[in-house]
């Protein structure tokens, strides 16, 4: 994927149906476990990936294809897991509205997004017809293993 500098490990999970969401959140959880994040952070991340993949899948009920990219963006000072979901569906007509608590259309478009925003350290959503991109990241200070 283009989103990460060369050499940074990333996993790309295509999002086509409901089982892909389980695969995406499983991969995110595995990475979190590998980076030794605690069980609360593993669950925060896996739940967030579930919600954002859901957004993509709901968009895809209409058209297009999407994918979820999970990136280990850690450096010397901190652990960072970045997740990008992108699709080429019709887009979200009103992004501000989609981020409001309690908002959803077609029974769940982005119903969990306000919650994800609270769980994650970074959150960026942009959408136009033909391209929706949502980036979330969880960052934690590195605990010295001395």
């Amino acid at each position: 994927m283009t989103d990460s500098p060369a050499g940074v490990p990333s996993i790309v999970v295509p999002i086509r149906d409901a089982t892909d969401i389980l695969r995406a959140r499983g991969s995110a959880r595995e990475l979190a476990a590998r980076l030794r994040l605690g069980s609360a952070d593993q669950t925060r991340l896996a739940t967030s990936v579930s919600e954002v993949s859901e957004l993509t899948r709901n968009v895809l009920q209409y058209a297009g294809e999407g994918h979820c990219t999970i990136i280990d963006a850690s450096d010397e000072s901190r652990l960072c897991i970045r997740v990008v979901v992108e699709d080429h569906g019709p887009g979200i007509p009103n992004v501000d509205l989609a981020l409001r608590d309690g908002y959803s259309t077609s029974g769940g478009l982005g119903a969990g997004l306000p919650g994800v925003r609270r769980l994650m350290d970074e959150f960026e959503l942009s959408s136009r017809p033909g391209h929706t991109r949502l980036m979330i990241a969880m960052t934690r200070p590195r605990v010295s293993s001395a």
Binding site: I21, L22, R29, S39, E51, G108, G112, R118, L119
Partner: protein
């Protein structure tokens, strides 16, 4: 993936042990409701000890299932939520889980029997105790 619904006297017992897709969650809801109706179960315990992720869809479906079961005439408890799941749901905000919960299945069954007894279904509650 079909989630079995076990009958223990007047109480129905179900345990979600694997991650479910949204479609499977909806199937679970339909299955549980039809077993409640068929057996006239007075109580339903949903064990989620094994679940590591409860997202907003799952949470909403559990809430809805509980409301529907209550409309049919059954009491509902959700048992064994993991601390990380509780933490995540609360941080996500909103009233994601509005169901009665207990630490474990043991407590859940006791709670159900008490509730069933309270509303006057004594005979059934007694037959439900093991």
């Amino acid at each position: 993936m079909k989630i079995p619904v076990l009958r223990l006297g007047a109480i129905l017992l179900t345990s979600i042990q694997v991650d479910l897709t949204d479609t499977e969650v909806m199937q679970f809801q339909a299955d549980v409701l039809s077993v409640i109706a068929e057996t006239e179960g007075r109580g339903l315990a949903i064990d989620i000890t094994a679940l590591e992720v409860v997202d907003s869809f799952m949470a909403r479906t559990i809430n809805d299932t509980a409301s529907m079961a209550r409309l049919l005439g059954a009491e509902v408890v959700v048992c064994g939520m993991r601390p990380a799941v509780a933490l995540t749901l609360v941080e996500m905000g909103r009233e994601l889980i509005g169901v009665e919960t207990t630490f474990n299945l043991d407590d859940g069954l006791a709670r159900l029997q008490r509730k069933i007894a309270q509303r006057g279904d004594n005979a059934l509650a007694a037959s439900g105790s093991s």
